[in-house]
C-alpha cells in the first residue's frame, strides 16, 4: 500500500460532526478490511457498496482462500474448518452447522470436497461448500480413488481394494441425470499405482491429467470421449524424485522435488503445455522457504499441492509444519511467501487428518454462507 495516490478532497464538514468519509479515502481504508467484514460494509449504504466494489477491483483484489478441514479419524468424524485469506493475510475459523451423514472428507483438486462410503457418494464444489450433492456410490467399492469434477461430470478412477475388482476401473457420474456409467479403464501401466496415494491430478474444464508422483508418467482423460491418452513423460529434470500437478488458472503446473527424500535440494515449478506436454521452468522455491517446509526435519518425502487462480499452496504432508504459498504476478513472475500463524492448524492435526481445498471466495459467497447456512466467520488472532 504505497504510492502517492491523489486523494480527492472530501468537501466541507459540519462543525463538530465526523466527516463523511467517501471516495478515494474510503476505498483505501476498505482495502485493509478483511473480506468477511466487507460483507457487512457493503450494506452500510449504496455509496459504501460501490466503494467496496471499487476497492476490491482497483486496490486490493480478491485472492483464493486456502480452506483447511480438520477431521477426527473416527465416527462421528467431527470437522473443524479454518480458512486462510491471503488478501488480508489472516486466518478465519469457520463456524458452521455439522454435515449430516459424515464420512472421511477428501479432496483431489481445487475446491472439490467429497466423501465416499459404501452407501453414499457426496461431493461439494462451491467455494465455501454450502451445497452438497448426495448420490449412490459407484459400482466398484474404492478406498483411495482419484476423483475429478469436470463440468457436469465427476470421474472416479482406481483406488479399488477388493481382490476381485479391476484396480483400474473408471466410472463417471453425471450430475444432471444422477447416474453412473462405466468406461474405459485406466491404462494398464498404472496397475500398481492406481490410487490417490500414488497419483496426482490436474483438472481443467475439459480434461483430467493424471501423473504418477514418483515417475512422472502421465496420462490424460477426456470425459466427453471417455478416452485415455498417453503415456507422456513429465520429467523436465531427471533429478526430480516426486512431482505433483494442478491447474493454476489456465496454467498447468508441475511442482517437483529435486534430490531425494533425505536430502531435498530444491523445489521447482514448471508450466506444462497441455497439447505438447512440454515443460517450461517458471520458478524455484527460495532455499530459506525450503528449510521452513522441511521444518527442521531432513526428510521430505512428499508434498501436498492445491491450486486456484494465480495461487499455489504447498504443504508438507508428513508434518503440520510450514504452509507456503506462491502467487503468479504480472508477467507470470512468482512471488513466494510463508503463511504465518499456522499453529492453529498444528493444534488440529493432533486431533485428526487435514484436508486442503482452495477456492475463489467472493462477497456473494460470504453473504450466502452467513444467510442461508448460518455460518459465522471469526478472525483468529494468535498473538
Amino acid at each position: 500500500m504505497t504510492g502517492n495516490m491523489r486523494l480527492k478532497e472530501e468537501g466541507e464538514e459540519e462543525e463538530g460532526a465526523s466527516p463523511i468519509i467517501y471516495g478515494d479515502v474510503l476505498e483505501l481504508i476498505l482495502s485493509y478490511v478483511p473480506l468477511v467484514d466487507l460483507a457487512h460494509a457493503c450494506l452500510v449504504s449504496d455509496t459504501w457498496k460501490h466503494a467496496v466494489s471499487s476497492s476490491l477491483f482497483h486496490l486490493n483484489k480478491l485472492r483464493p482462500w486456502l480452506v483447511v478441514h480438520s477431521q477426527t479419524t473416527r465416527s462421528p468424524y467431527l470437522t473443524t474448518t479454518h480458512a486462510y485469506d491471503p488478501r488480508s493475510r489472516l486466518w478465519l475459523h469457520v463456524d458452521k452447522p455439522p454435515l449430516r451423514h459424515v464420512s472421511p472428507l477428501r479432496s483431489s483438486h481445487s475446491s472439490l470436497l467429497y466423501m465416499l462410503s459404501p452407501s453414499k457418494f457426496s461431493f461439494s464444489r462451491d467455494p465455501l461448500h454450502l451445497t452438497w450433492h448426495h448420490a449412490q456410490p459407484p459400482l466398484v467399492w474404492r478406498m483411495d480413488p482419484i476423483v475429478a469434477a469436470i463440468g457436469p461430470r465427476i470421474i472416479i478412477a482406481g483406488g479399488s481394494c477388493d481382490f476381485e475388482d479391476d484396480p483400474l476401473a473408471v466410472e463417471i457420474y453425471d450430475v444432471e441425470s444422477r447416474s453412473w456409467d462405466s468406461c474405459q479403464s485406466m491404462p494398464a501401466n498404472l496397475k500398481d499405482s492406481a490410487a490417490a496415494t500414488w497419483l496426482s491430478i490436474a483438472v481443467n474444464g475439459r480434461r483430467m491429467f493424471v501423473t504418477e508422483k514418483t515417475t512422472g508418467e502421465t496420462y490424460s482423460f477426456d470425459p466427453a470421449t471417455k478416452i485415455w491418452n498417453g503415456p507422456y513423460e513429465l520429467r523436465p529434470d531427471p533429478a526430480v524424485f516426486f512431482s505433483a500437478i494442478g491447474f493454476a488458472g489456465d496454467r498447468m503446473i508441475l511442482v517437483g522435488l529435486i534430490g531425494d527424500a533425505e536430502n531435498v535440494k530444491n523445489v521447482k515449478l514448471w508450466k506444462v503445455d497441455e497439447e505438447t506436454m512440454e515443460c517450461e521452468k517458471v520458478g524455484e522455491m527460495p532455499q530459506l522457504l525450503l528449510e521452513k517446509l522441511k521444518n527442521g526435519n531432513s526428510n521430505l518425502a512428499s508434498i501436498g499441492v492445491t491450486m486456484q487462480g494465480d495461487f499455489i499452496y504447498i504443504h508438507n504432508t508428513s508434518e503440520s509444519g510450514a504452509l507456503l504459498c506462491c502467487e503468479f504476478k504480472i508477467h507470470d513472475e512468482i512471488e513466494w511467501s510463508i503463511i504465518e500463524n499456522v499453529i492453529i492448524i498444528s493444534d488440529q492435526t493432533r486431533m485428526g487428518r487435514l484436508v486442503f481445498t482452495c477456492s475463489d471466495v467472493g462477497i456473494h459467497d460470504v453473504h450466502k454462507a452467513l444467510s442461508s447456512d448460518n455460518r459465522r466467520f471469526s478472525v483468529q488472532s494468535v498473538e
Partner: protein, 156 residues
C-alpha cells in the same frame, strides 16, 4: 549541532519550521527539495493544517529517533505501543492524518492510520458502522427493510 530547518506554509496560514532531517522523511518534500536544488530559503506551501502537521512531525520524529537509537530488545514493541496510542484519536483527526500522510507521501503513517480506521469497521454490524462514521443510509425505507430481511445477520 544545529540542524537545518525547512519552512512549510500550512493551509491555515501558519508557517512552521521543521527540522530538515524530519521533513526529508516525507517523500513529497524530499522530491520538492530535489526539484528546487535544495534551496533552503524556499517556503514550501502544503495543503495541511498546522494542527495536523504538528502531529505528523511528532510521528516522524519519534520514528526517526527510534531508528537511530534502537535498543533492539524493546524498541520494536515500544514503538508499536506508541503508534497504537498515536492513532487512538477520533475519526475526524484520523481522516485528516490519512489525507496528510497521503499528501506528504509517508507510507508507514498512511498504513498505520488506514489500518486503524479499518479496525473501526471490522467486527461491527451495519448500524454500528453507520454510527461510527456518521453515515446516513441512502436507501429508501423499503430498500432498508428488504436488506434487513435478506441479511439479518448484518443487523441483529
Amino acid at each position: 549541532m544545529a540542524s537545518r530547518k525547512l519552512k512549510l506554509k500550512c493551509m491555515d496560514g501558519v508557517t512552521m519550521e521543521v527540522e530538515e532531517m524530519v521533513a526529508l522523511e516525507w517523500l513529497t518534500i524530499k522530491q520538492s527539495r530535489e526539484d528546487n536544488d535544495d534551496d533552503s530559503d524556499v517556503v514550501i506551501p502544503i495543503s495541511i493544517t498546522s494542527e495536523i502537521l504538528l502531529k505528523v512531525i511528532e510521528y516522524s520524529k519519534k520514528h526517526l529517533d527510534t531508528t537511530s537509537n534502537s535498543d533492539h530488545q524493546n524498541a520494536d514493541s515500544n514503538l508499536k505501543a506508541w503508534d497504537a496510542e498515536f492513532v487512538n484519536v477520533d475519526v475526524n483527526t484520523l481522516y485528516h492524518l490519512i489525507m496528510a500522510a497521503n499528501y506528504l507521501n509517508i507510507p508507514c503513517l498512511l498504513d498505520l492510520t488506514c489500518r486503524r480506521v479499518a479496525d473501526m469497521i471490522t467486527g461491527k454490524k451495519v448500524e454500528e458502522v453507520r454510527k461510527t462514521f456518521n453515515i446516513i443510509s441512502d436507501y429508501t425505507p423499503e430498500e432498508e427493510e428488504e436488506m434487513r430481511q435478506q441479511y439479518p445477520w448484518g443487523f441483529e
